[in-house]
Symmetry: C2
């Protein structure tokens, strides 16, 4: 992999509006695995230095998505501590990337298994945006009488991809605009969303509109669950990231003079609106207010 | 006006997604004024009977929009009580319709005058959907440092018409998707929305998403104001109307098997989330909770 190729990959991940945080983190690891095999270097030391620099660059491009930083940090820690010649380091870097990709995939599967067991059969659930853990949970519960309520998720309407997939799995689905979430959440027995990051206090960064849905769910007494791998957890000492804003062109409005179209992609659902967190290790319920 | 013409007018009002409740109420009165001049009838008694039947039909077609029922009820009361020959009744019916149209227009103007005085200069306000009283308020405050935050209002995006008009009035405007309302309401000093109906307890029926915005405003401590004419008030003994649902085709999603696309147009903002009601008679503030 040469530098122009790497920069194209970087740009692709930066502009990706479709894939979730975990999927993009695995894509970053796959890029590093490829770079590990092909990056030109005179010796092991130069190789390690150049590869770690690429990893640092990748780790910084999607600040709202904690697993990219977390998985790459683990990978960097392993490579940074390794000794050996160029050939050995190439193999080690590729193997470690593959191992972390497998670990991330397994974590998604385990999250969904816990979520499906916790939620149980015959439920009507609501979700917002597209989450791989939520989709996998729906697949597991699809033959057990699950019904879903799915929001559109403007501007790019990931909700359409969710609805199409649920249709393929024969899950009866209600599809609504984002503005209707307050009306329809009362018909759900629970809300299940993924997250791009979890802050240290349990607050969840996810597609914009999630915090609104959590407010509406609390208003109706409908429990609100966040299901994501522990790779989504940000450290205690990390400040909340800036919420990424994408091109306003996605809103497809004319350029009226004096009108600024805004397209912030994420919001923060405060921990006090979350009733349980589901990860690959199990379910953690919120402590009831005294 | 013959029956096919009248039925076309009825269908147009039933399917209208653009005009607000007051504007459609005035359109109903204009239709009755036209019918008053042209409706075939042998004598005054037959004329009155036929005209009142048309009015009753018009009054029922948009249940979420109180002013249609209220203004037509006033008109019917005047015509029902009138005596005279056919010629006199024709003139009276047309005159009464014109008088109520003028009264409705004046009420919108007076609402906006009160709202502009109450809100004052130099404010950043947020709105959802399109309201004629809110737009008129913006026109009045446009030269006084007003800044607006406007939501898209899916599915038909009335927010675009609002943004375009604000641009023409040189009001600096931020345009956002509905899902971003929770993020941006914190930047507003107040939320100002219209209503299609007010329930007896002060709860407001308005474009779907309004109740979500009110929840988000309360969460951030931003005051939430409803500005509408008293013709929007429903009577104490009227049950809340069924919330109108429009064609799911407006969501422009494919017909996936097992997926039902829903398009409910209105929601109810509970009175406890409203800080003040502004009408043509002035401003009524909510009583603070004890």
């Amino acid at each position: 992999m040469n530098l122009p190729q790497f920069n194209r990959e970087i740009a692709e991940i930066r502009n990706d509006r479709i894939r979730g945080a975990s999927e993009l983190a695995r894509r970053c690891l796959a890029i590093l695995a490829e770079a590990a095999e092909t990056l030109p270097a005179a010796d092991g030391s130069e190789f390690r230095q150049r590869l770690l620099a690429l990893a640092a660059e990748l780790a910084a491009i999607r600040p709202s998505m904690a697993p990219i930083g977390n998985l790459l940090w683990r990978w960097r820690a392993r490579i940074g501590a390794a000794n050996g010649d160029l050939k050995l380091l190439r193999r080690l870097a590729a193997e470690q990337a593959a191992a972390l990709i497998a670990l991330s995939r397994q974590a998604v599967t385990d999250c969904a298994t816990h979520a499906a067991r916790w939620l149980g059969p015959g439920r009507t659930l609501m979700t917002h945006s597209l989450s791989s853990t939520v989709l996998e949970t729906c697949r597991l519960l699809g033959s057990q009488g699950l019904r879903m309520i799915v929001t559109e998720s403007r501007p790019l309407a990931e909700g359409r991809r969710v609805a199409k997939q649920l249709s393929a799995w024969n899950v009866p689905t209600t599809y609504i605009t984002d503005a209707q979430m307050g009306l329809f959440v009362a018909r759900a027995e629970g809300v299940l969303v993924g997250a791009d990051s979890l802050l240290a206090d349990g607050s969840a960064i996810n597609k914009v509109g999630t915090a609104l849905l959590a407010l509406a769910a609390r208003e109706c007494g409908v429990p609100f669950y966040v299901c994501c791998e522990s790779f989504k957890q940000r450290a205690e000492d990390e400040p909340p990231p800036e919420l990424e804003e994408m091109a306003s062109a996605e809103l497809e409005v004319p350029a009226w003079p004096g009108v600024s179209a805004r397209n912030v992609y994420f919001d923060i659902t405060p921990a006090r609106l979350i009733d349980a967190w589901i990860s690959e290790t199990g379910v953690r319920q919120a402590v009831a207010a005294p």
